[in-house]
Symmetry: C2
């Protein structure tokens, strides 16, 4: 079987896949209610939050849209920290719904500079919220969210976090860091197929909700809260993925959040060390390199598209290319969720064998 080494969907353990094949049950019945309550409680343990956590039947992008429309009004000024494709997407969503987006753009591959954020917040007191991507999947870079959040909280702003490819894999204590809405998605570190966005909602986010005027229906957090009290979701949920998540959450709690995070640190180091040993260069600033996805620069004649093809066809390893302006300039290795150091060693060995055939010559 192929090894899926893209930054989501990630490989799923067999027990998780088997849960996907469970026959349907009544999504408004007692059994589903029990599962939904258990899954929610376990998610709170891994989000490290005492706030609300909701499951939305959607991909992660739907979760980002939910974060925006539940807390903001048209005309609101928001500071958006854009460090790649997904940061720009978060901005676009806010803009589409009428927010006035003040972007902080950072050269792709670099982390956001906390001083820039402080300066922007100081110079525009009307900013209501800060939008930030914790782990930027398109560049393989993790922002220093602890530092960013401390500035955002100093100015008492709402903090909306795209944690789609970080939460459950990279340290992110939701409450401690004052994240008001944190968004993740099932097909990332959670080892489950796509279909569910998971979002946390803080007390401050609920206060914002009460004033927020952006139109919303499907994403409405209050509906989610009211139905969750009955052990239901407002609209028919992705039942199979909830079954699967129930299984994967047990596996995650068994391993323990600290161990999971430490494993991702080791796997990330193995990926970066391996890449450098091949004479390739990391795309992201190494100090902020992500432990869930590694982006590799393809300078020196390396044909990224061909490499991805050869890796798949000859080595059975599926890598990802670059997105948008990074197409052809990088390739990416996903290493989040169900992954070990040994599996990354296998990827590096396959790359070593594939590289000479795709235009790369080690010069250093």
């Amino acid at each position: 079987m192929e090894q899926l080494r893209i930054p989501g969907p990630t490989p799923c353990p067999d027990e998780v896949l088997q849960a996907m094949a469970r026959p349907m049950i009544n999504h408004r019945g007692e059994e589903f209610g029990r599962i939904l309550h258990e899954v929610t409680a376990k998610l709170k343990q891994l989000f490290l939050t005492k706030g609300d956590v909701f499951l939305l039947t959607a991909s992660g992008t739907g979760g980002l849209e939910a974060a925006v429309v539940n807390t903001l009004s048209p005309g609101d000024k928001v500071l958006s920290v854009e460090v790649g494709v997904f940061g720009e997407r978060f901005s676009t969503i806010a803009r589409q719904f009428g927010a006035e987006v003040i972007p902080i753009s950072v050269e792709w591959g670099r982390a956001a500079d906390v001083a820039d954020i402080r300066r922007a917040l100081a110079s525009e007191p009307k900013i209501k919220a800060v939008l930030v991507t914790h782990n930027e999947t398109s560049t393989g870079m993790t922002n220093d969210l602890a530092a960013i959040s401390s500035v955002v909280k100093e100015f008492d702003k709402l903090l909306l976090v795209d944690a789609i490819s970080s939460l459950g894999s990279i340290e992110l204590p939701t409450d401690k860091w004052g994240c008001d809405v944190t968004v993740t998605a099932s097909q990332k570190g959670w080892m489950v197929p796509p279909g569910l966005a998971m979002v946390s909602v803080s007390e401050k986010a609920w206060q914002a909700y009460d004033r927020a005027k952006m139109p919303r229906f499907y994403w409405d957090f209050k509906e989610a809260k009211n139905y969750l009290e009955k052990g239901q979701t407002p609209w028919t949920p992705m039942v199979s993925t909830v079954f699967a998540l129930a299984v994967s959450l047990d596996m995650m709690l068994q391993e323990g959040l600290t161990n999971i995070i430490a494993r991702h640190v080791r796997v990330g180091q193995a990926a970066r060390g391996g890449i450098k040993s091949l004479g390739l260069a990391l795309f992201a600033e190494e100090k902020y390199a992500s432990n869930t996805v590694t982006a590799v620069s393809t300078s020196d004649g390396l044909d990224a598209k061909k490499l991805v093809k050869v890796m798949k066809e000859e080595h059975g390893i599926v890598l990802a290319g670059g997105q948008q302006s990074l197409a052809g300039r990088i390739f990416r290795i996903g290493h989040l969720g169900w992954v070990t150091e040994d599996e990354i060693t296998t990827v590096i060995a396959a790359l070593k064998s594939a590289l000479p055939g795709v235009g790369f010559s080690k010069t250093k």
Copy 2:
């Protein structure tokens, strides 16, 4: 195993469930692209449309929101035919996004009167679109969409159709009836778990799209169209449900749409005949009774909640209660998708045995 006789999620054939357990693949790779193109082509055959068909990772309600925000602007007048919970939901969505909704309310259980729709359209020329529920799941009633559509088209209005619990089970030739956006969902007649909304988009809907000013991002049809050309979806799709849909569509095409519709007619008749033979009354006007869900009145002391409980615990058959103002006043039998007349006969036999214990005495 329990027999799920609610109007969705519906039971899934084994082959479909097994497809849900397939390991993940790259949602931006060639194999997924091939599957997505095949699924889309087969859906068009069953929608009977030459227009566009898109898969949205969402429940059916998300598809309704998509229909609204892609075709309308705040302030637009829309005529909304409300015949139950789901008709009211469609209105609420339009209202939330700023449309001026002119409701045509019909006593629940009755079908919309085409003369009312004609009168409303004649008296308010500024109406842009008509929102209609084809099959109202909450009351077990199917509107005469052929007649409604012919009036809507006479006035050259946009027709947005909630076909969530009808399409693929009850006759609905999308193009022939001039449905501009038709919305259905995987967990209904399609025999697949929830998680996908499927929507068709006509040429007239695209013209409306170009003028529509409601905010949209996640639901954007143009994004769906652009990505579909590459064999992709804009956001990570519910991969497992797409695998499952590929299997169920083959089963449906094998049976043939005409045969499927005829089977639902027979199953619907079996349900209604059986209910009447027990001395129970149908909630919906029989002329318009739905072939996918039967609502049964619980007058004469019948305790609906207790009946649903006894049917589940003693007979292993899961029925649905009434929603909102119909709670306690009806119970519902779902018979759409993977269902035969024999299975309905089993339900009727179980009801016969359960009824005396839940307050019902046959008086006729």
